[in-house]
Amino acid sequence: MKKLTMKCSTRMDLLTYGAVILAYVVLLVLRDGGHLSRSLTGQLVPICCYVSMAVSLNLTVGILGELSLGHAGFMSVGAFSGVIAAMSLQSAIPAAPLRLAVAMLVGAGTAAVAGVLIGTPVLRLRGDYLAIVTLAFGEIIKELVNCLLVGWDSHGLHLALNLTGNKTIADLGLEADGIAIIKGAQGSAGVTTIATFTAGFLLVMITLFVVLNLRSSRAGRAIMALRDNAIAAESVGLDLTRYKMMAFVTSAALAGAAGALYGLNFSSLQATKFDFNTSILILVFVVLGGLGNMLGSIVAAAALTILPEALRSFADYRMLVYAIVLILVMLLTNDPTLRAYRDRILAALSGKRPGKEAL
């Protein structure tokens, strides 16, 4: 008698993959049948980006156990490097899907480099201090990109940093055939949008594959051991810096790929899109979905991206309702009194007596 039943975690992982595939197929059928509203169709790629942002942040927050408030910074790095790559390779790689893949790889690569640069100082700190430094890096990235001028012509890439605030794209000295890719505070403009829903789906699947496999690997167990008790884990010989760095950089790279897809979904994009509020938004997805629970992150990211759209009939009140929903969900899942009520109602619905092993 070998293993007849799968391990619980494997079953959960398969369920997660299955849910994503099912959602993709259903949405594809609905979209091609014209049953989706225009605004929702436009949201499909951003939803995929936010889903993989949430899953990758869950790696840092849920599995590594460090609070990051600057995840949007990596998305920004990925988005703008991806846009630069896609725009400069326009003639070299005419096939859009291939160019998109290359751009996403470039985005992931640059974000990974940024992850190493940021992770080296950040991971030496602990708790709230670590959180505030990730926030600081997120803001620094935003301001640097805001000063960035990038153009491309037959001589290659031209870069400049607009520190004084009075340089323009003309100062790059582009040839007549040149194109301006990033214009400082105006961000990227005139980008050929090559992002597709299928690419988004593949991105989510790859992100899930990387994160779930990392979690169940030897390295993943080491990372979780460090999360639960760093001193005990170090005393049995686990290399703290190495494993923390591995999780942090993987998370950054995945965010970069998501950013590249996001950047190539809009013809123009400003650096201020990836500010502190975006980092917080993604953190909300992760916490609401449950720390370490990837399916939860996916559902929360998709639901909370659609929710403001679905509340459009409330117009002015929709963000207010969003805030109230957020507070109520947190209270409902964490307040001991409300939780007891909820458990009793759930138990009554399923016809069982409440038991301690329920959660």
Binding site: Y129, L135, L163, V287
Partner: protein, 292 residues
């Protein structure tokens, strides 16, 4: 002379950060939570005093007192409804709730007062001319610095001298032990929120007197900066918040003047990162090594 005027504007901005940072650091010290909604309480304080001055025609001192009263009530209500039920919940859950409260305040302000910027009537106007007009210091900045010093002195005396202050220190050391000694922990935490929110109202008035555009998002960036200042000085430490706020304001003003306007915030944050790498618990914070 130019340098001096930049320095003075930095000290004035830093004083506002210090007042806000005091609120952050007190709440963190006692409830061990990052109150992200603190920045938005500043904004509410700004709007209340704006309405009192512009619509009701009240004198500015009454307007400030009214703003403090409303913000104090607001702070205590927020704590009671949103944070108290989560006392035993994981800190991330509390953080997200605080973010929810922050969104709620911002959007409520958006509905009540609209998205457009309101031009704030300064509480004090005019400027002090020194060195035959070469150096002009606005009365608003002098008032800001003076108010900050008074608040700082009063708060230090309250925390170290009074019985309630002692209770607050006891709660921040060990809530369980404090409760066993007969201290009402919930009431003490409410008091901390009340003081922090009243300070936020003052900060809102002072901030709007120096930077007179009032919007629903007015509070968020100063809030983040003040939080940075609190961490910079060592979160949980009251002199640390004062020092951190002041230094942050000065660095920001000088960076804006001499290095780059568009990178001023980055420079502030870069200094924070360097300081935290050298002193991982902030300038005046106590570093508690992890024990087995």
């Amino acid at each position: 002379m130019e340098f001096l005027s930049y320095l003075i504007s930095g000290v004035s901005l830093g004083s506002v950060y210090a007042i806000i940072a005091l609120g952050y650091t007190m709440v963190y010290g006692i409830a061990k939570m990052l109150n992200f909604a603190h920045g938005d309480v500043i904004m509410v304080g700004g709007y209340i005093s704006f309405c009192a001055i512009s619509y009701l025609g009240l004198p500015s001192i009454v307007a400030v007192l009214l703003a403090m009263l409303v913000c104090t009530v607001l702070g205590v209500v927020i704590e009671g409804l949103a944070y108290r039920p989560l006392r035993s919940a994981p800190s991330l859950a509390v953080l997200i709730t605080a973010i929810g409260v922050s969104y709620l305040l911002q959007n409520a302000a958006l509905l009540l007062w609209g998205a457009g910027g309101k031009s704030y009537p300064s509480v004090v106007s005019g400027a002090l001319q020194l060195f035959g007009g070469q150096l002009s210091i606005s009365y608003a900045s002098i008032l800001t610095v003076a108010v900050c010093l008074v608040i700082m002195a009063a708060l230090s005396a309250f925390i170290s001298g009074s019985k309630l202050g002692k209770a607050m220190r006891a709660c921040s050391e060990d809530k369980g032990a404090a409760q066993l000694m007969g201290i009402n922990v919930n009431a003490t935490i409410s008091l901390t929120f009340a003081i922090g929110s009243a300070l936020a109202a003052v900060a809102g008035v002072l901030l709007c007197s120096s930077y007179p555009t009032l919007m629903p998002t007015t509070g968020s960036m100063p809030g983040i900066k003040a939080f940075t200042a609190a961490v910079f000085g060592g979160i949980g430490s009251i002199p640390g918040a004062f020092l951190g706020g002041l230094l942050l304001g000065i660095i920001e003003a000088l960076a804006k003047a001499y290095i780059s306007t568009s990178l001023a915030n980055s420079i502030v944050f870069a200094v924070l990162i360097v300081v935290l790498l050298v002193r991982p618990a902030g300038l005046l914070g106590k570093y508690v090594p992890e024990k087995v």
